[in-house]
């Protein structure tokens, strides 16, 4: 019989890698496995039916390690396993094969099934029922009299799943999933013997516990004890589609399990190469926004933002938008319009938007939200390593001996990677955290960082220079790597620079606030590790020296030889799902797709030949330049796809002024977001469940995004862009997103080998994918750099202009939390609100006491840019002098306070350093009152638009 490969087959225990192979004889058939493989996994190589046996339940989960009592080490000797249980397992398997039942297992099922098998969920999702069926169990031997757990109360506190202890067999899988897969240790088995039960936290319920709702326990549960509420309410899914999550840059693969066109649940895909079967609360559960009532699914137009919306046909919307853009260009010139691509949209959609701007608008005024997050990564890594991307896979961290996390909070912002990192640290990997705040990685169950370098906001470059100074002056550098792989002229110049005494930790201590001895110790640990990796986030890039810091990180990795193999590298943790892809696709105003500069005549010539137009050879405007030009009156029209610049960009008052200055703002989005309130044309967008295309995650992995349901508006986003382009007079004619990818492959050398067929064949591809690397490049720079030799860059520390003063004595830094995503447009429309329904200001108790502020008080936050009001939360997670907040809720006005200071090289905003004063208040700020009035007005205009008759 033909054996089909089942990508979802659960092999029970993780795969082992070993050069030593062991051959087993199972029921007369030889099976060869690597040494260290569990018996269960070996048996499953032979058949899939073995899982239907009782002993398998307690340890069948591919993400969990084999527990001690069951661990069966495969010896290097041929054929034999040494474990007392082996014979029983193999015999049992033989019995099953012969069609016999296994009565010796009935008792186990009875004892562990307090609800009785017939009462377990009949939704086809209960392994215990499957087991009972496999062993022929039909009767409940012990009846329902006597002690039982039938009346145990359900825990329905979590908005996404229910814990029904009456169905629990106390197998501990959920506890182990929480520990081993997620690394949160929120669950335990409470009590002994018959009283033993699963408890969340101190038995205070899932919602009140440390549970992060990743769903690992739900997935691991072999009964229906832990069950998604959506399955309880709507029944078992009928079919599924494998696609890619649209939240953070980890790019988790999920099975969207469906009933008709309705998503019942999202299950992390075990073969997902980025997530390896794990998930976080956002990807696993927070997908309800896709069908939220707030979705706007019909095009709308209006002449002015002071008017109600008018519902129109697609044709009229395109005609109106194109007419406005043409009129503006006729009056104010070709360069008076531009656009913003989306890091939430697919590569194909992003490619089309920048193509429309360059070819149909006729200028290079295209930019993307990476401008406000990782543009310094592009600049810094291209300058030093020759490519604007991270160097590794996420799997690579499992070979690291030392990890330094700088300005990142992966357990909140990149949770699935955060769990992987914690697992590696529990295995013994060293950990250095450089962050002004005390994040979960500094100290949490079974995790204690070797060093928490609690630097002052804005002093990153002084810190990284001090680290490199120790490495060089103490002779800890990798001389062989430097000699063979790096530009020695640049190195010698940098060596002289970094060796200067002013970079010594003792000299920078007063700047960074990090004790010199701690820097020296951390630098020695980092340099001494066989494999040392650096992971960083927006705490590196969103500074006035973001690009310098990225280069400083690359300098350190080069100096210590930590580039070009697994377990090392420079790893930017990208914020949004397709930030990497939007940059790859030519969204920046100076680069065509594939990071090819617009001024290069040969490169531009290839694009001109393909696109059939003459392209501008000068870079275009960046987002902040567009805003300034709008205020000055020279920039009048903008096409914005899938971004909410009115909420996400700094200095809200400035952005408000710029958007109000536009004659035509075209917004394409799934909701009437903050930016759309300033728009004249609204084009309905498609959620990720409605998309067909690809996303590229933080490890350069191109993943397929498969359409789960048809676009609610009737048009895919790429079709909308194409139609707008055609209305503008520049013809686009694609019939499927695969054709767009084929075009990308012909123009971007790093994508040369990428196609939908290859993606189906390989599952995913990490670029560069070309003739030299036909299956992609998991680890970059193994033998050489795209620029030949690694380039050490001079990174002088230049203090930011944003300094604390008597008027603004505190430093505000902003960031993200686990349950909300970016501007919150998606997660605020899900039950994730249960965890974070407002932004709050974290401040240290000493700063609070000095101001008479108590926990929960309303506080006014003022900076030189503006004022807003939030509730205060007293915490020791921030150091004295530093306050922290998030920007997930528009009414909180976090970005009213942030300034338009930015990175010197890329204009990435300095979100992480704003000098502020905090005082106790009792009413909203004037900005908040104005915002509320504007929001009320725009919601009313939307309501009128929805009720209008389509023209």
């Amino acid at each position: 019989m033909l054996q089909h490969f089942d990508p979802n087959k659960d092999y029970g225990t993780p795969a082992r890698v070993s050069e030593n192979l062991v051959t087993l004889n199972i029921d007369g058939v030889e099976v060869t496995v690597p040494e260290g493989t569990s018996v269960l996994r070996a048996l499953l190589k032979r058949t899939s039916t073995f899982l239907n046996c009782v002993p398998a339940i307690t340890w069948k989960h591919s993400a969990l390690a084999v527990s001690a009592q069951w661990k069966l080490k495969v010896a290097a000797a041929p054929c034999f396993l040494y474990h007392t249980c082996r014979k029983r397992h193999v015999c049992y398997y033989a019995e099953q094969q012969a069609g016999e039942t296994a009565p010796q297992h009935h008792g186990a099922v009875h004892l562990r099934s307090p609800a009785g098998l017939s009462d377990l969920s009949s939704n086809g999702n209960c392994e215990l029922q499957d087991v009972a069926g496999a062993v022929g169990l039909r009767e409940v031997r012990y009846g329902f009299e006597g002690n039982n757990h039938l009346d145990a109360k359900k825990d329905e506190s979590n908005p996404y799943f229910t814990f029904d202890p009456s169905k629990c067999i106390v197998c501990s899988r959920c506890v182990r999933a929480c520990e081993e897969v997620q690394g949160t240790f929120a669950l335990t088995i409470d009590g002994r013997g018959f009283d033993s039960k699963v408890a969340a936290g101190q038995d205070d319920g899932f919602l009140a516990s440390d549970c992060v709702s990743c769903g690992a326990c739900v997935q691991a549960c072999p009964t229906s004890t832990l069950m998604e509420n959506s399955v309880i309410e709507r029944g078992q899914p009928e079919h599924s589609v494998v696609t890619t999550c649209a939240y953070c840059g980890v790019g988790c693969a999920f099975k969207a399990e469906m009933k008709g066109n309705e998503v019942i649940r999202m299950v992390p895909f075990k073969d997902g190469e980025a997530n390896r079967g794990h998930s976080c609360v956002k990807g696993r559960f927070a997908f309800g926004y896709a069908t939220h009532d707030d979705r706007v699914t019909e095009p709308m137009i209006r002449d002015s933002i002071d008017q109600p919306w008018k519902k129109v046909s697609w044709e009229e919307a395109f005609s109106f938008a194109a007419g406005r853009i043409k009129d503006i260009q006729a009056k104010y010139g070709r360069e008076s319009v531009g656009g913003i691509t989306s890091s939430r949209c697919t590569n194909e959609e992003t490619y089309l938007v920048q193509k429309l701007i360059r070819a149909a608008f006729g200028n290079n005024n295209t930019d993307t939200c990476a401008r406000v997050c990782h543009s310094p990564t592009g600049y810094g890594l291209k300058t030093t390593l020759g490519e604007s991307a991270g160097t590794q896979t996420f799997d690579s961290v499992m070979k690291a001996d030392m990890v330094m996390v700088i300005g990142a909070n992966p357990t909140a912002a990149h949770p699935v990677f955060g769990s992987r990192l914690k697992r590696r640290v529990r295995e013994g990997c060293g950990l250095i955290i450089a962050d002004p705040r005390t994040t979960e990685l500094v100290k949490s169950p079974h995790i204690i960082a070797d060093h928490h370098l609690k630097l002052r906001p804005g002093t990153n470059v002084a810190f990284i220079n001090a680290m490199a100074h120790v490495v060089i002056t103490e002779g800890l550098e990798d001389k062989e790597f430097i000699a063979n792989r790096c530009d020695n002229t640049a190195y010698n110049k940098w060596r002289e620079f970094i060796s200067e005494e002013r970079h010594a930790p003792e000299q920078t201590e007063d700047i960074t606030g990090i004790p010199a001895a701690e820097i020296r110790s951390a630098a020695r640990l980092f340099a001494a590790a066989p494999n040392a990796a650096i992971f960083y986030g927006l705490g590196v890039t969103e500074h006035s020296q973001g690009s310098s810091m990225v280069m400083g990180i690359a300098n350190l990795a080069l100096a210590t030889g930590n580039i070009g193999r697994e377990g090392v590298g420079v790893n930017p943790l990208r914020g949004q799902n397709n930030v990497q892809g939007s940059c790859d696709m030519g969204s920046f105003p100076h680069e065509l797709p594939g990071y090819q500069h617009v001024a290069d005549d040969a490169i531009r010539g290839r694009f001109e030949a393909s696109w059939g137009v003459t392209l501008d050879n000068e870079p275009g405007l960046r987002i902040p330049n567009m805003f300034n030009s709008a205020i000055d009156g020279t920039f009048r029209g903008m096409y914005c796809q899938g971004e909410d610049i009115a909420q996400s960009d700094p200095n809200t008052n400035h952005v408000d002024q710029a958007l109000r200055s536009l004659d035509c703002l075209i917004v394409q989005d799934i909701f009437l977001n903050e930016t759309a309130k300033y728009a004249h044309v609204f084009l309905p967008g498609a959620s990720f469940l409605e998309k067909d295309g690809t996303f590229t995650n933080a490890e350069r992995r191109i993943n397929r995004v498969r359409q789960v349901m048809p676009p609610l508006s009737g048009m895919a986003d790429w079709e909308v862009t194409m139609a707008l382009s055609n209305a503008l007079g520049y013809e686009m004619n694609y019939s499927h997103p695969s054709e767009i990818m084929d075009e990308i492959a012909t123009l971007a050398p790093t994508f040369k080998g990428v196609s939908y067929d290859r993606l189906e064949e390989l599952g995913s591809i990490q670029w560069p994918c070309n003739d030299a690397a036909p299956e992609g490049t998991p680890t970059m720079h193994i033998e050489n750099f795209p620029i030949g030799l690694g380039n050490f860059a001079i990174t002088e520390y230049v203090a930011t202009e944003e300094r604390s003063t008597r008027k603004f004595p505190l430093l505000l830094t902003t960031g993200r939390i686990l349950s909300q995503y970016n501007v919150g447009a998606q997660t605020r429309r899900t039950p994730n609100q249960a965890w974070h329904d407002e932004d709050v200001l974290d401040l240290h108790i000493s700063d609070a006491e000095m101001r008479g502020i108590s926990d929960g008080d309303w506080v006014g936050i003022s900076s030189r840019a503006g004022d807003t009001v939030m509730r205060a939360r007293i915490t020791d997670k921030v150091q004295p002098g530093v306050v922290y907040t998030t920007f997930h809720h528009p009414g909180s006005g976090a970005n009213v306070v942030t300034t338009d200071n930015s990175d010197w090289a890329t204009n990435c905003p300095e979100y992480k350093v704003t000098a502020v004063q905090v005082v106790k208040v009792n009413s909203p700020s004037s900005w908040q009152q104005n915002y509320q009035n504007f929001d009320d007005q725009q919601q009313d205009f939307l309501k009128q638009g929805r009720e209008s008759v389509s023209q």
Binding site: E335, Q545, A599, E618, P619, N625, S629, W904
Partner: protein, 73 residues
């Protein structure tokens, strides 16, 4: 372009200069700044900073001034 753009351009070019002071000599630094502007600034931005220099460029620091002067050659 008016004041919003010009004031930001002056700040940008001075900031680029401050971050390139240590790449070598003053000439090296000015070259780096000029190269950066050439590669990353839009045409209207280049034109405006040139005009500002022609009008005196009072708020440009030394390296920035030298760099913008180079752009005009």
């Amino acid at each position: 372009m008016g004041n919003a753009t010009l004031s930001s351009l002056i700040k940008m070019v001075n900031q680029i200069a401050d971050n390139n002071v240590h790449v070598g000599t003053a000439d090296d630094a000015a070259n780096a700044v000029a190269s950066h502007i050439t590669r990353f600034w839009a045409r209207p931005m280049k034109q405006q900073i040139n005009e500002y220099l022609n009008e005196g460029g009072e708020e440009l620091n030394d390296i920035a001034r030298q760099a913008v002067t180079q752009l005009q050659k």
